[in-house]
Amino acid sequence: MITRSSLMMVVSLGVLVLAGCAHVVEVGTTAAHQAGVITKQEKDYYDRRAQETESAVRPMTDREEYYVGRAVAATVLGQYRLYRDDRLNLYLNQVGQALALASDRPLTYGGYHFAVLDSDEVNALACPGGTILITRGMLDRARNEEELAAILAHEIAHVNHKDGVNAIQRSRWVQAATALGADAARQLGRGQLDELASVFEGSVGDVVKTLLVNGYSRADELAADQSAMIIMVRLGYDPHGLTDYLARLAQEQGAGARQGFFATHPGMGDRLADARATINANKWQQVNHQVRDERFAAYRR
């Protein structure tokens, strides 16, 4: 069971890490299928996702992703209040920045920024490009810096994997291309700009809908957990921070919580099992984090 889930991890990670290399993923899934590790159905699923990812990612530059991310954040901040606590913000951005530097995409066009939303619900949102918003409710459930790091690393992983921009419908690109016409070097006319602005608006809507209503796919969530733990281990955090936190959320979900995060993140129990299997497969040990526990306690006082 452990080998199976660890291979699954390799495959699902590969889908995202190698976004843009669908044929490489296919080679991997074919091997995994032949070895009897994944079923034909699973193989088809991963191949399809790899292809979707490839075609959706290619046309978007980092700079465009940044502008989409700003608009997504501006929309979300119309629905939530920003929680203003300079001390907390500083701490959050220190943890987040260190994690981002240990991630596969340490630098983005506008950089990573972390902020708290003034809400009791449990939620965390990764806007494309690197602005990460987490609710006070989510933050309050973290008991130490390792768990806080797990939350932030998971969201950084979504940015790394471009899960937000991948939610943009492919038809938007066709619309954009039509709006611009073939001559990309020409100065944009008024009509073209309006047309592009509405394509932009649609794209932003696609991302917001995924973040707030539909949620990412189960495969995307598992892949983000995997990457989160890798980021944590690289930096020296205890990856058990993720399983401890997930266990707490799974318990709440089991007790009937269905709001916000719990609606967009079903199957917390599955995520927990998957993360535990990964820790076992990699033989990641517990880490002494007393010095960080103390600083967390000081900041949260």
């Binding site: 290619r58 046309p59 978007m60 530059t61 700079r63 465009e64 940044y66 502008y67 989409v68 700003r70 608009a71 954040a73 501006a74 929309t75 901040l77 119309g78 920003l82 500083l90 951005n93 220190q94 943890v95 920045q97 260190a98 530097l101 240990a102 995409r105 340490p106 630098l107 983005t108 066009y109 506008g110 950089g111 920024h113 902020a115 602005t131 690109w173 066709v174 954009a176 291309a177 709006a179 611009l180 073939a182 990309a184 070097a185 944009l188 700009l193 309006d194 592009l196 602005a197 932009f200 608006e201 794209s203 932003v204 690289r234 930096l235 020296g236 955090y237 010095v291 960080r292 600083r295």
Partner: protein, 158 residues
């Protein structure tokens, strides 16, 4: 005979310079060239978006680059390989480029598009987004934070 040799030399030089002059373009708002191949190494110079620099060497995720007389290291995620201009010389690529790529190659979602979008949606909380983008922690602060928390330095060349 002498002319032929001259042409040959010139041709070789052209091929060699195309092959060697690997250059990279900055794709982040600002990028920092550092003294060593570590995020926490002292900065040499800050380079704005779109600037092109010469790539001298590569080690892991770090590139040794030269920019306006300054040399140092830059992380690969801040730059993009410049496409070798050979293809544009031969005019073969232009036709192969799909419409999608043309549409979004620097002409897609630009600051002008954001401006048009904001004009249409004045209720958007861009002021708060700007405030959040102002939450910055310097590399020196991150360095201290990592050290004081007994964490490992991220992104070293290792």
């Amino acid at each position: 005979m002498r002319r032929k040799a001259w042409f040959l030399a010139a041709g070789l030089l052209l091929v060699a310079s195309v092959a060697m002059a690997a250059s990279v373009k900055v794709i982040t708002q600002q990028a920092v060239i550092r003294k060593d191949k570590r995020f926490f190494a002292p900065p040499v110079v800050t380079v704005p978006y779109g600037e092109v620099m010469q790539e001298l060497a590569r080690e892991g995720d770090w590139l040794r680059v030269q920019y306006r007389g300054n040399q140092g290291w830059i992380h690969v995620s801040a730059v993009q390989e410049q496409k070798v201009e050979l293809s544009s010389l031969m005019k073969s690529k232009a036709k192969e480029t799909s419409q999608d790529e043309v549409a979004l190659a620097g002409k897609g979602f630009t600051p002008e598009v954001e401006k048009a979008f904001r004009a249409k949606n004045p209720q958007m909380k861009y002021d708060l987004v700007d405030r959040i983008e102002g939450y910055r922690v310097s590399m020196e602060e991150v360095h201290l934070f990592v050290r004081d928390g007994w964490l490992r330095e991220p992104g070293g060349a290792s």
